[in-house]
């Protein structure tokens, strides 16, 4: 599949002033990544890992110290290509204009005009449940509503690629569900989403692949399913056996669940049968994304 976003060996050093002396700050170090068309890519990392810097380099806001990259087949910073991209910044800042006019302004900057622009503005405001407030000054909205207007301006040009930096950080649970559905719909329509987020449960739910960045280096990239599954462990769900038979087993609603090493799976099943129990399910054991994130970004994990 074709890559719509490619970072090739990107390094970015900033100069941070400590006292009178500027000190170099490494934001990204030899960062390479390819995001394929039609996927939702989750971009994770602790604060200061370099996620926003990577997005800013891709959008052309910041120049890399070394390396290069391509967005939709063109070098980073190519302005006409950005007409096919939607971007939402981490902290949304809006001009003091009615939401409808503001979204139309951003659409017009992308070359949209006339009835087509008006119709798209109406659609995105409706999708983000902003129709009732479309005539109000967006600069005075609550943070959550500003984030929705920010999403509306990112979506108004019906972009092929969405670059979203913490798009749901200020939203309430209902707003998050709505955005999640919006992103899933976008994927169904063949759009690509590059999603930077701290909300790991959300990333786990919707992302096809995940990349974990730590101290400017990409420490892991994998399909979400592959990342979460523990191939060396199996999770068994059984009935009619005493939980005490298996160490670490938990009983819930009459179903006993426990994890065993893959090599011991057959023996465990035979023990259940021998005890007169019934096998309900056998699956590869799963870890949460949070566990993996902590492991990857902790000192020992990141040094592995």
């Amino acid at each position: 599949m074709a890559a719509v976003l490619e970072f090739e060996g990107i390094t970015k050093h900033y100069r941070r002033r400590v006292g009178l002396r500027p000190e170099p700050l490494v934001a990204l170090e030899d960062f390479s990544l390819a995001v394929e068309r039609g996927e939702i890519f989750g971009f994770l990392g602790p604060n200061g890992a370099g996620k926003t810097t990577a997005i800013h380099i891709a959008m052309g806001f910041t120049r890399p110290t070394r390396g290069a990259g391509r967005m939709l087949g063109r070098a980073f910073g190519h302005a006409p290509t950005r007409a096919r991209v939607g971007f939402l910044a981490e902290n949304v800042a809006l001009y003091h204009r009615p939401a409808r006019k503001l979204v139309a302004f951003y659409g017009a900057l992308n070359g949209m005009r006339g009835r087509f622009l008006r119709e798209r503005v109406r659609q995105v405001l409706e999708e983000l449940e902003l129709t009732a407030d479309a005539g109000r000054n967006a600069g005075r909205f609550s943070r959550g509503m500003q984030q929705r207007v920010g999403l509306a301006q990112a979506l108004v040009n019906d972009p092929e690629l969405l670059m979203l930096d913490e798009p749901t950080s200020a939203l309430d649970p209902l707003g998050r569900v709505a955005v999640r559905e919006l992103l899933l719909k976008a994927r169904e329509r063949g759009k690509t989403v590059f999603l930077s987020s701290h909300l790991l449960s959300e990333v786990e739910l919707i992302c096809d692949r995940v990349g974990i960045l730590h101290r400017g280096r990409l420490v892991r990239v994998a399909k979400t399913g592959d990342l979460l599954e523990r191939h060396d462990q199996s999770e068994l769900a059984v009935r009619n056996v005493a939980p005490a038979m298996f160490p670490g087993a938990e009983a819930r609603d009459g179903v006993v669940q426990f994890t065993v090493p893959r090599a011991a799976q057959r023996a465990a099943i035979e023990r259940v049968w021998a005890a007169g129990g019934e096998i309900v399910a056998v699956n590869p054991a799963r870890r949460s994304l949070e566990e993996i994130f902590v492991e990857m970004t902790s000192e020992s994990g990141s040094n592995q």
């Binding site: 900033y14 941070r16 700050l25 934001a27 604060n47 200061g48 890992a49 370099g50 996620k51 926003t52 810097t53 800013h56 959008m59 052309g60 806001f61 910041t62 120049r63 302005a79 006409p80 290509t81 950005r82 007409a83 991209v85 971007f87 910044a89 902290n91 949304v92 800042a93 809006l94 001009y95 003091h96 204009r97 302004f105 951003y106 017009a108 900057l109 992308n110 070359g111 920010g150 301006q153 990112a154 040009n157 670059m163």
Partner: protein, 232 residues
């Protein structure tokens, strides 16, 4: 061209309270001076020159802080995430700042016309005077925008003043005619309501040409700058 006009319009809209204060100031002070029965020709001239100075200074103040303000508020990110070149963005800010100068120039000249009529002076040269003011506003705004691509707003405004003062200091030197500031300053602040006054149209043209060159130079600098304010 459309993004430039959109950005300029938006910029001007953001400054709407400033524009309102400017209009109240110009017409309010015109009323204060002009309705005085003791208004003399010297008073009318003083008013016009004083307001012209403000009309030239205003775009400097606004333009010098424009980029910094947009970067600090992070509003620049949403604008430059669209199909907008850095040069178009700067042209939008420049057009917006210069438009403030145009509004100031027109209002100053309307108020000046009324005051000239009160002291029975001809106001026939005032449209040409307004055009000179606009050219001067465009020149100083482009200087301020250029300096603000790499300097703090305060330093950019100071650098603009120094650059204009340096041109004035070079008066009489050979080749200085190519720099229009001296001719514009003389014309704007040596203005008399006399039929023999002539607007230096060459200087006005040169000012616009210089503004264009400064925009090109500002674009060259700004294209190499990181617009996101700070590292994570």
């Amino acid at each position: 061209m459309r993004p430039v006009v959109l950005i300029a319009g938006n910029f001007l809209r953001e400054q709407r309270w400033f524009v309102l204060v400017l209009l109240v100031w110009v017409f309010g002070s015109a009323a204060l001076f002009g309705l005085d029965e003791r208004l003399s020709r010297d008073d009318a001239l003083f008013f016009l020159r004083q307001q012209a100075a403000y009309a030239v200074a205003l775009p400097v103040l606004i333009a010098a802080g424009a980029i910094h303000q947009e970067r600090r508020s992070r509003r620049i990110l949403a604008v430059l995430s669209k199909a907008v070149e850095r040069g178009q963005y700067l042209a939008g800010l420049l057009l917006g700042s210069a438009s403030l100068g145009v509004i100031a120039a027109v209002s100053v000249c309307i108020a000046g016309w009324w005051m000239a009529a009160r002291v029975h002076w001809p106001g026939a040269h005032l449209p040409a005077y307004a055009l000179l003011l606009m050219a001067a506003a465009a020149l100083v705004a482009s200087l301020a925008i250029f300096f603000s691509t790499f300097l703090h707003p305060l330093l950019a405004a100071s650098a603009t003043v120094i650059a204009v003062a340096a041109q004035l200091g070079l008066e009489g030197a050979s080749g200085v005619e190519a720099l229009p500031a001296t001719a514009l300053v003389h014309a704007l602040f040596g203005f008399q309501f006399q039929p023999e006054w002539h607007a230096p149209s060459t200087a006005a043209g040169l000012a616009l040409g210089e503004a264009l060159l400064l925009w090109l130079a500002a674009t060259a600098v700004f294209e190499r700058r990181d617009v996101a304010m700070a590292a994570e």
